[in-house]
Amino acid sequence: MLDSLMDWLVSTPINGLVLNYAWSWPTLESLHFLALCTLMGSLMIMDLRLIGFNRIIPLQAVHSLMPVAIVSFAINLITGLGFIFGDPHTYFANWAFWAKMLLVVLAGLNFLLYFTKVEPTILKLGPNEPTPMLAKAVGSLSLIFWFGVLSFGRLLPYLGTGGG
């Protein structure tokens, strides 16, 4: 099944777009790096506040950074798909790639937990009020998962044996 998926990925025009121009890959990489910075920057401010750092920030205000995180993630999803369309065989054969994807999924599930259980309670809290235990846990897990995504992403070419 993975083989037919890889065959399809390399048969698409996106594959040619990513591979046939010298500037495509470095452009995708630059965008991937820029958006990872804004993703991690916005997450650090939000998650650290959830954990209890810098309590003078109202939780409602810290929440205004959420669109930055979502747009940054969308950019990295799109540019990341560009890499996969360009060179699926290398990525799919690399265990570090799958570890990174697993962490992205875990971070997504953690976000769902935030969205359904944490956000409704914390938006009612006043300034300087301590956040509930669940909020601290979700904030900590978010930082662990996303810094894991970053580390596995950067180590991908050195950890896996996919060649390339």
């Binding site: 470095p26 790096f33 991690m40 205004s64 950067r154």
Partner: protein, 154 residues
């Protein structure tokens, strides 16, 4: 050049970074981590200074700048190690040298903005000059990241 030639010939860190299993990957991973902390936080703090996310009190930015410097420290350390491995090639690479200049300028903007936002009274506005520095800082960081990535291609 004498110093750089010597540095590049050292067993540690230069040879360790070049040929050990852990050397280059560990330093490059730390470099990505420090980048996310320093540049990620700086970009968001600069946007706040420009007026975005106005609900976040300016007085709260000082502690995030403090965290950003930890990222800068990680990258000064990991970057020095990576530099040692190819010192004589990096020093004549204009893309790398442009990146280094921009990173130093970016650090200068953070060093200027951190005390500037700490001093502002609650409810008071930041000066136009402070906002201009934040705007310039965003451009500096964006170009620095792109140049840093392109260093791998030259």
């Amino acid at each position: 050049m004498g110093f750089l030639t010597w540095l590049e010939a050292t067993q540690f860190p230069a040879e360790w970074v070049r040929s050990s299993i852990a050397g280059y990957p560990s330093m490059i991973a730390l470099h990505a981590l420090g980048m996310a902390i320093m540049v990620g936080l700086s970009l968001l703090l600069d946007l706040r200074i420009l007026g975005w996310f106005a609900g976040i009190p300016l007085q709260s930015l000082r502690r995030f700048f403090g965290l950003a410097w930890i990222g800068f420290g990680i990258n000064f350390f990991s970057g020095s190690f990576l530099f040692s491995a190819q010192a004589t090639s990096y020093i004549v690479d204009w893309v790398f040298m442009t990146k280094m200049t921009l990173v130093l300028l970016g650090a200068v903007t953070a060093g200027f903005l951190q005390p500037a936002v700490a001093k502002v009274a609650p409810g008071a506005e930041l000066s136009g000059g402070t906002k201009a520095v934040a705007g310039v800082a965003i451009v500096i960081w964006v170009v620095a990241i792109v140049m840093g990535r392109l260093t791998a291609y030259l």
